[in-house]
Symmetry: C2
Subunit: 493 residues, 2 copies
């Protein structure tokens, strides 16, 4: 066997045994090892790779069991002829796309061009930065990994096999729905029945479903400015009539932007991205207005579990007697964003339609993840995690506030809700995009705020500093560095 | 403590220790146990529940660690005051939806009403039927559960924590993309680069994305009749111009239904639901026609891994020099449908737009599942599983064929591709819906075929018999029962 077929990387993520198996399977299936080709003995392979012979024996045993190898007495291991029962079909054709004159013009065929929309773009390698003031990721040191893995193990158990492997068409995991109804919604002041709850692939999937159901070319949508750019993009695909309503210290201003409106999108608990909490008076006035002007409200309560500063303020939905509010929540901010689990609460006629649309779009959220999350919630791990996050976030929130007051004196007051970020308004001359570029080179990751504005021209002097992923002891130094750079930019201007 | 707080169900899915924890957490968080309330000693609790004391000790220890309980010396266990730091907010308001005159008319507000579409409906409890000739579920006895769990465990490992917990916005797991490119596509004769592949939430999500990008009110779509009703429903939400093309023994007939067409949807390998394989001549003619009439083709290769009867026939996409074919595949048929993982292969300009739209719709498939599937593929478990499925399906396919010839002599020939179902045309007088009702009462689950037709009136004498989930030794008896019922219906008519 050629030497190059098995390489062992000792710093790899998987075990040595797994690596040996993967390399051999790969060589067999890719046709690099022919049928009946002899494989080195376990002794020789162990020596070549400098690994223990047991490791090799176990890897070979698995391959024997699965029919990739056969053992012949006194002769050793060979590639099984069964392993190649279905030879690869590759014809080595390659689309000569650029040369072929017949290719259809794809872009002209499309009814929309979402890739042309501007969107938040963040470095995938944010974890390699020393000062990652990034928003929307979790701090891995706070996550109860062992408990999550234990729930995942239980959820994948043989007894539940029938549940998690099946296509359940339009249905959700009843255990997860129950946990959301009993554990999560009451903390937001919301009572709902099971048929008023729909599990979604993250909160954003809920917003996409709602926009698809309620917004077409004629629909007039009002949303906050600055606001969540993904939502602006979603609405932008469906209608040209998106009106922007400014935000002040009491939340979104109930301006004439709401005069002609079918659907309003708001983030009352913790305005996105300014972190302002909408006052109770404003909330009641918004509900009165919705009834008077006959519009409906989508409430995105995206950070509902990070209210650690004041008494938790109930959701707008909890004040809504008229059923005009659709509530959207996320499990991503406390569990982890890569999981993609969220939910919506709405009158059951609407949930019924949204469920049918979700069936066509994705059927349902993966059942193994729904069950794992349900167990995690029911065993109290989620509550334990929230307490841990509150403690850590509160500390960071205070350290951030102090550092900002000391080093960046122009910044706004602390967000009163808590949350996981500060929204910073710099001097009018500040160019946050240039600051982002410079800071990034020095290991500081910030988020320019321009993308969150829908108006033109967009203000360039805002930025956001997340603190859900940055260690406490890095905060002060990071802000100090940033302050120096802002000062330099100011002097250059 | 009141006795009713902890109930142990010995036949439950979770361990006794987990059940004790769950019951106590639930009582604490729901406010049934007040702060500082004493909890029975481990000895007493063990006795009350008739479980070993160790079980109780371990459950209590977990609750101590997580701050739900505190232990006081010489006094025992109490509910911790920290556990209730954030009291539930419930206001016990209930939407008086039906009484309130102000509620908005939801249905009139919606731009579409997907819940009004007719769709496939299958009993969720199909596993409790003795003869489940159901389509599209997996046989749990064939699934390599231990290997999947091992991959899941590795995917959730600490070293990969940064990967699977993160929101990766629009990106896919590069390991899974690589496995699809190297392992799956070559078997279908397709060579693609990474930027021509997009991971989706099941094949249906790929179809929804494509319809959203390419189909609007003016777009003319042609699809097979009978055909996949979910796809007909998806197109039906976007355009009124859906034309149906009949299917014969060579696949979809290239009738005048393709004369005025922008997008064609076909299932060449294994027509859905008739199981016919499109002939090579028909495939080449379809490609010529697409170029001549300037339409594009969506190829749904939904059962590509179940071709165990003849030499595998390469995908239509592999013959496509002009880049007119978009290929859609699924991992659900071989892994498990509840996982919701699929993919599409298309020119990279189109993938770029589809990726941007997927970002708005769901962001990405859950990262833990992407990584688990990638490991499962790379370690050869998927190939082992396919060999196992082929063997089992081939056996069932033969037994089914024999039983049908013997007991239901009117049925069509065996599908030549293999697959996981037989499409049965009954006598013209047969009412398959009535047969379904009667058969269900006798423990036989079949699928009436009416739903797969778009024409009106829809033929009622077709039905489908899946064999991916029914044990071999049940097939003959099930078909015999069915034959008796068909005979009875025939005589009654």
């Amino acid at each position: 066997m050629r030497d190059w077929l098995v390489h062992i990387r000792r710093n790899e993520y998987t075990s040595l045994q797994t690596q040996i198996r993967e390399a051999l399977v790969s060589a067999i299936l890719d046709g690099q090892l022919a049928q009946d080709e002899p494989i080195p003995s376990t002794r020789k392979m162990a020596k070549t790779l400098s690994v223990s012979r047991n490791t090799v024996v176990l890897a070979y045993q698995g391959l024997l069991d699965d029919g990739y190898l056969v053992a012949r007495e006194r002769s050793g291991y060979y590639v099984s002829d069964k392993a190649l029962a279905q030879p690869p079909l590759v014809q080595n054709r390659r689309h000569a796309a650029t040369e072929n004159p017949d290719q259809p013009g794809w872009l002209e065929r499309l009814t929309s061009h979402p890739a042309q929309q501007e969107n938040i773009s963040k470095p995938l390698d944010w974890q390699s930065y020393k000062y990652p003031f990034i928003y929307g990721q979790v701090d891995h040191t706070l996550f109860p990994l062992a408990e999550w893995r234990d729930c995942a193990r239980q959820a994948l158990g043989k007894r539940w096999l029938g549940h998690w492997t099946n296509d359940t068409w339009a249905h959700d995991d009843p255990l997860l729905v129950e946990q959301i109804r009993r554990r999560i919604l009451p903390r937001r002041g919301i009572m709902a029945s099971d048929d008023e709850i729909l599990i979604t692939l993250g909160a954003q999937n809920a917003l996409y479903l709602l926009a698809s159901l309620m917004v077409s070319g004629e629909t007039r949508v009002t949303m906050e400015e600055p606001g969540f750019c993904d939502v602006r993009n979603i609405f932008g695909l469906k209608t040209p009539h998106v009106t922007l309503a400014p935000v002040d210290s009491g939340g979104v201003v109930l301006s004439d932007a709401f005069d002609n409106c079918d659907v309003a999108f708001v983030t009352p608990s913790h305005q996105f991205p300014t972190t302002v909490t909408m006052s109770l008076e404003r909330r009641l006035e918004l509900l009165r207005l919705a009834s008077k002007r006959d519009f409906v409200i989508i409430e995105d309560d995206y950070e509902f579990e990070t209210n650690y500063v004041n008494e938790p303020c109930p959701a707008l939905k909890s004040l809504d007697d008229g059923c005009r509010v659709i509530y959207v929540g996320s499990l991503s901010k406390t569990l982890f964003p890569g999981l993609r689990l969220g939910f919506m609460v709405a009158p059951k006629e609407l949930i019924r339609q949204a469920r049918a649309l979700r069936r066509l779009m994705v059927r349902h959220a993966p059942n193994n993840n729904q069950r794992t999350a349900a167990l995690f919630l029911s065993l109290g791990h989620h509550d334990t995690l929230i307490r841990r996050l509150h403690k850590a976030y509160r500390q960071r929130w205070e350290i951030m506030g102090d550092a900002l007051r000391r080093h960046l004196s122009f910044t706004a007051r602390n967000p009163s809700f808590g949350g996981t970020s500060y929204w910073v308004e710099g001097p009018q001359t500040l160019d946050a995009e240039a600051l982002f570029d410079q800071a990034r080179r020095e290991g500081v990751l910030i988020e320019p705020g321009r993308i969150h504005f829908g108006q033109r021209p967009r203000p360039r002097h805002f930025f956001r500093l997340g603190f859900s992923s940055i260690p406490e002891d890095k905060i002060d130094d990071g802000i100090k560095l940033l302050s120096r750079m802002v000062g330099e930019q100011n002097r250059a201007a």
